[in-house]
């Protein structure tokens, strides 16, 4: 697969990028703009492999470093608006430079949040034709900044994350693992620093993140949401952001397809899990290109988000979703063939 190094402007900045080119000349010229939270190769080797996999299926793919970070010239303390502006610039560049018919966004975490904002900001031919969002950051409590080492900076967010493993396992790790203890201490320090050294940047980014859910609900094109089933972001999304489908995802013009990967947390730290992200992303994009129905089913979305939000009725006895059974995992394995999640007997939980 051919990969080219290139650069493009975004306001007064120049952004370093690379483009994966498809083999041959695809009939439909469709591009994918990828946005991650650290460097353009972050979550290596996933991002490069995903770029190659999209290109092998006939897509043009752009990965870039945000302004003044990593391999882009200059040094910049990024704001959330900078991220959105850079993604808009990347979209214009890819679409114009390669004379594309359509563009999809692929974003993860904070990058996925920026993708949702950019989809609302861009208009006309530059508006993305579809979104692939991996663990989008939609809960403002989970927002953090590089100066806090991207740690959770609110006690509630830390506590919620802490509930994803059993108390006994965490206790064992605390006793036996120096790294785990250091991590815990680091989180406490980050929470303290965010309280005393808050310059308003954190509030601004939180405010932007709080708009991700509503903006996603307004998006008219098709979208794919991918989460790990033990990801605290997924738990936050189901229990807080879209509890009871308050955003109205099931009523969208094109309801999102949702895929849950079994036993995966926020980072998808295994070759098998990252391969699954690649497979889901490329098969969804290919189905989109081929004119298949890539939308989610409204009834299933209503079922997934059926539980009420915290404080709106019932007590929650546990914070994480039930583990998926074998049959459910097979459904996840089918990926886009059906809306992937099956919460087993979710009414049984309360």
């Amino acid at each position: 697969m051919a990969t080219q190094i290139c650069s493009f402007p975004s306001n007064q900045w120049r952004l370093s990028a690379c483009v994966h080119l498809p083999d041959g000349r695809p009939q439909q010229r469709i591009g994918v703009v990828m946005i991650t939270e650290i460097a353009k190769f972050a979550r290596q080797p996933l991002c490069r492999q995903l770029g190659d996999a999209f290109a092998a299926s006939g897509f043009y793919v752009l990965r870039y470093d945000k302004r003044g970070t990593s391999d882009s010239p200059g040094n910049c303390d990024l704001t959330f608006d900078d991220r959105v502006a850079d993604l808009c610039a990347a979209t214009r560049f890819l679409r114009a430079e390669y004379n594309l018919d359509k563009v999809l966004f692929w974003g993860t975490c904070m990058g996925a949040a920026a993708a949702v904002h950019a989809s609302a900001r861009l208009s006309g031919p530059f508006r993305p034709d579809g979104l692939i969002l991996w663990a989008p950051l939609a809960n403002p409590d989970d927002a953090s900044l590089p100066e806090f080492n991207y740690r959770r900076v609110t006690f509630s967010a830390y506590l919620r994350k802490g509930l994803t493993g059993s108390l006994w396992n965490r206790l064992q790790a605390f006793v036996s693992d120096r790294g785990y203890r250091a991590n815990l201490l680091g989180s406490v320090v980050a929470m303290g620093r965010s309280s005393f050294r808050n310059s308003g940047r954190l509030e601004r980014v939180r405010s932007q993140i709080s708009r991700v859910g509503p903006l996603l609900a307004q998006y008219e094109g098709p979208s794919l949401l991918i989460y790990g089933d033990t990801d605290p972001f997924w738990i936050g999304f189901t229990k807080r952001i879209n509890a009871g489908d308050r955003l109205g995802l099931s009523k969208m013009k094109s309801p999102p397809k949702i895929a849950l990967a079994a036993d995966a947390d926020h980072m998808f730290h295994s070759v098998q899990q990252t391969s699954e992200v690649i497979r889901l992303s490329v098969s969804w994009a290919t189905a989109f290109r081929d004119g298949q129905d890539v939308c989610g089913e409204r009834e299933e979305i209503r079922t997934i988000f059926a539980s009420p939000a915290r404080g709106e009725g019932r007590d929650h006895k546990e914070d994480s979703p039930l583990p998926l059974g074998e049959g459910d995992r097979a459904a996840v394995g089918e990926g886009i063939a059906a809306t992937a999640i099956r919460y087993r007997n979710s009414e049984r939980r309360y």
């Binding site: 460097a39 994803t164 947390d265």
Partner: protein, 274 residues
């Protein structure tokens, strides 16, 4: 807050090498050259990702202060060709030597040396032993390769226990490696070849790898480093050993330059350049 979009007119990104073995290289040419060039040897795996924005930022700052810098991604990592299963200690050392050749061609200066962090520092020591360099600036080199490798496996076991149902023990992963099977650690495929070399190689050669060495360590590594420093000094090398009380910044993503490490290094580079 530091926002500066105009200090990198002399930054260049390129691939070096033949098709399918292309190495991704970033050159930072100093505007007013001090005559000193550094080749950055990155740390390993996830530490390479978490420290990338910090070290990229620092390399731009160094170029602004007159030090040219070459950064590279070892084959099988980052943007370079190859797969992670191909990565061994030998390949990492070979790539560091290749990077030194490139730096001599592209960024010629009076003095050329390596900067390395963690496993990158250890790799730079072996690269300098293979192809002499004028100096080494080492940040927290790995002092025991078998211990480091075992810690990589242990961190995965801990994460498995906390977050997931998959149950593996360090011993099981080592048994897989001994049997010639790769293991998956944090999404990286670690090969039996890498394991064998980590197990067999000494972190530090007996002979000093360069005439001038800056060795910055955290307090936890002081005891392990002291005998090596003493031995190298006894053999005539100028080893400046300093203990820096700073957090293990490579464990967390962030974009701030570790100031104490950076300040000590710039002072030392300036001093040896006089």
């Amino acid at each position: 807050m530091t926002n500066d979009s105009n200090n990198d007119s002399n930054m260049e990104i390129t691939y070096c090498g033949a098709d399918s073995t292309r190495m991704y290289v970033i050159l930072h040419r100093a505007a007013q050259a001090s005559g000193t060039t550094l080749v950055f040897c990155p740390p390993f795996d996830q530490e390479m990702v978490t420290t990338y924005p910090r070290l990229a930022r620092w390399s731009k700052q160094l170029a602004g202060r007159g030090f040219s810098v070459l950064r590279y991604h070892p084959l099988g990592t980052g943007e370079s060709d190859g797969t992670h299963a191909d990565v061994t200690l030998e390949s990492l050392v070979k790539d560091a030597v290749t990077a030194q050749h490139l730096a001599r061609q592209q960024l010629a200066g009076r003095r050329l040396g390596y900067f390395g962090l963690r496993l990158g520092a250890t790799v730079s020591i072996h690269a300098a032993a293979a192809q002499p360099a004028d100096f080494l600036a080492l940040w927290c080199p790995v002092t025991s390769l078998p211990h480091y490798f075992r810690e990589l496996l242990r961190s995965q076991v801990t994460a498995d226990a906390v977050h997931r149902s998959r149950a593996r023990s360090t011993q099981q992963m080592i048994a897989d490696l001994e049997a010639g099977r790769s293991v998956d650690v944090w999404g990286y495929e670690l090969s039996p070849g890498l394991y064998r070399q980590m197990k067999a190689m000494q972190a530090f050669p007996d002979a000093p790898p360069a005439h001038n060495v800056l060795w910055l360590a955290r307090p936890a590594d002081e005891a392990a480093a002291a005998p090596v420093v003493k031995r190298w000094q006894g053999l005539g090398s100028h080893v400046d050993f300093q203990v820096i009380r700073e957090t293990a910044f490579w464990e967390y993503a962030g974009n701030t330059v570790p100031e104490r490490f950076a300040t000590a290094t710039v002072q030392w580079l300036t001093q040896i350049g006089k």
